[in-house]
């Protein structure tokens, strides 16, 4: 017997199939792998672009100004107070054992090996990774990236490589300044709070440092710079969903780059300690 019109209509308007848990998990895994693949491809391209032209030197200088000079105030301010608070925290413990003069040693090592690179990396990631993501994301949703491609320009050369290169150059410099200002902060705090002679503090802080300590800190800043710039660019160039998507990408850029910096710091520290033990 033929269906009534109402029955036929209800069959046509059948509800879409609900995917199984397995299918959802498979889709999630595929999406994640695709994201990692695309991120790796963009990161690799940002470096290989340097081998061939065109090179955008003016854009790189502009980005160095934005990332390097623009981040200087927050790096100086936070560096000074981190050095000071380190002295206050460790100095009181050393005083209990009558070893307050060791404060300079420990603060110097902590700043050069660990706190300088990681805190500067996190601060610059918070400021610049989000800025890069929002700038590139806005360009993407207003079709400026497509316009660039339509005019024969490769966006990875024009937008990504200058930002990555600028970060790679400026973050080690910012970290160096941060560590130096941190030691000054520590010195001021130790003089005022622990009554340690400024010269003694400074002498101990410098003497304790070895080449491996400086290399450990320096190598970390290079990796952190690469992470914050590439994550910002990747999030910006993969915005979905208009201005709301730009906001999401900006948040994601800060979260992902910060987490990656902290996670990679652990592995880099382990690697650096192993290499220092083997070769220095």
């Amino acid at each position: 017997m033929a269906d009534t019109p109402l029955q036929a209509a209800s069959q046509e308007a059948r509800a879409p199939e609900v995917p199984s848990v397995m299918e959802v998990l498979q889709d999630l895994a595929k999406t994640s792998v695709l994201k990692v693949q695309n991120y790796s491809k963009l990161s690799f391209q940002s470096i290989t672009n340097l081998a061939t032209g065109p090179r955008y030197m003016q854009d790189t200088l502009d980005q160095m100004d934005d990332i390097g000079v623009g981040s200087l105030p927050i790096v100086l301010l936070s560096g000074f107070f981190i050095g000071a608070v380190m002295v206050l925290q460790t100095g009181t413990q050393f005083e209990r054992f009558g070893q307050a003069s060791l404060t300079g040693d420990i603060v110097s090592l902590a700043l050069v090996r660990e706190l300088g690179p990681s805190i500067t990396g996190l601060l610059v990631a918070g400021r610049c990774s989000s800025g890069i993501a929002s700038e590139l994301g806005s360009m993407l949703v207003t079709e400026q990236v497509d316009a660039m491609r339509a005019m024969g320009t490769d966006p990875s050369r024009k937008l990504v490589t200058p930002r990555v290169l600028a970060s790679l150059i400026t973050l080690p410099l910012l970290t160096t300044i941060s560590v130096f200002v941190g030691l000054i902060g520590g010195m001021v705090a130790s003089v005022l709070s622990l009554r340690i002679n400024a010269t003694t503090f400074w002498e101990r802080a410098i003497k304790i440092l070895e080449f491996s300590d400086i290399m450990q800190g320096f190598s970390k800043t290079v990796v952190f710079a690469f992470i914050l710039a590439t994550v910002g660019c990747y999030q910006g160039l993969n915005v979905r969903g208009g201005t709301q998507g730009v906001g999401r990408a900006t948040t994601q850029a800060v979260v992902v780059s910060s987490v990656l910096i902290i996670v990679s710091d652990t592995f880099l520290t382990k690697l650096a300690l192993y290499l220092a033990d083997k070769f220095f």
């Binding site: 079709e143 400026q144 497509d146 316009a147 660039m148 339509a150 005019m151 024969g152 320009t153 490769d154």
Partner: protein, 279 residues
């Protein structure tokens, strides 16, 4: 050969082959297939009007023609080269032969109007002394010479579209793609944009693909021409018809070419769907 000839000479030469050719092109996204086997071609100096409702894939066709998107299947020939299998670096070279006017202009908001227009020339490594006269000439063509130092945010929507046309025009491309150039503009500004497209077609002799949902834009391009002598836009007379650049309509529906023909054929069509566009 001089790469950027000054003056209003056409850069197009007749070779007899289509400038743009789509052959059974299909393209889909997560939400389903949007283009389901599109086949058409645009001859040199021809203007093809892509007509259709929102979401029928007009913009996708333009992005495919410029290589900004790749088809899932089928082939696309631009200036005799198959671009569907090209790498991104090969496509960058092809795109230099194509001017693209985006729907909202897509001007670089951190650059001035002059820098936006000159963008491609800077990319090609030309010096300021060569670039500035060309930029001024092109901005004069779109009657916006006074805005050279303004930022795009200081311009109205219609002015931004005109700057976008100037930017597409600066390198004298033989093909220009227009994505809804009059969308969201008032009738007077729309008329100014269409006059500009007419001038561009009749002075430079470019091949054009124009996506729109406004039938009157298509008819204006089909029924009028720019007279270089009087420097006015004039209605085509029956005697002039053969000299005027041909205009053809393509109507898209459900991912396919639903109608392809001349303005007269479209006007005379009794098809109920096409009639909806003519009301």
């Amino acid at each position: 050969m001089e790469p950027y000839p000054s003056g209003l000479a056409s850069t197009v030469t007749d070779t007899g082959q289509p400038s743009v050719e789509f052959n059974n092109v299909r393209l889909g996204f997560d939400e389903g297939e949007i283009l389901r086997g599109v086949t058409f071609s645009a001859q040199e100096r021809e203007t093809v009007i892509l007509l259709g409702e929102t979401g029928t894939g007009k913009t996708l066709l333009l992005k495919l023609a410029s290589g900004l998107l790749r088809p899932d299947s089928g082939s696309i020939q631009v200036l005799g080269k198959d671009i569907s299998g090209m790498t991104e670096s090969e496509l960058l070279e092809i795109r230099r032969q194509i001017g693209f006017v985006f729907q909202e202009g897509a001007l670089f908001d951190s650059l001035t109007v002059g820098e936006n227009v000159a963008y491609r020339l800077y990319e090609d490594g030309l010096g300021d002394d060569e670039i500035q006269p060309l930029v001024k000439e092109v901005l004069r063509f779109v009657e916006l010479a006074h805005t050279i130092d303004s930022l795009p945010s200081e311009l109205s929507g219609g002015m931004r579209r005109r700057v976008a046309i100037a930017r597409a025009l600066i390198a004298r491309p033989p093909i220009v793609l227009y994505d809804s150039p009059t969308a969201g503009l008032d009738p007077i500004t729309s008329q100014t944009i269409i006059s500009l497209i007419l001038r561009l077609r009749d002075v430079y002799g470019v091949t054009a693909l124009l996506a729109t949902h406004r039938l009157q834009d298509g008819f204006a391009l089909a029924n009028f021409h720019f007279d270089p002598q009087s420097k006015k836009v004039c209605r085509n007379s029956p005697t002039e018809h053969s000299r005027v650049a041909p205009t053809r309509f393509l109507v898209l529906r459900a991912g396919k070419i639903y109608f392809e023909g001349s303005p007269d054929e479209l006007m005379k069509s009794q098809d109920p769907y096409l009639q909806r566009f003519l009301i």
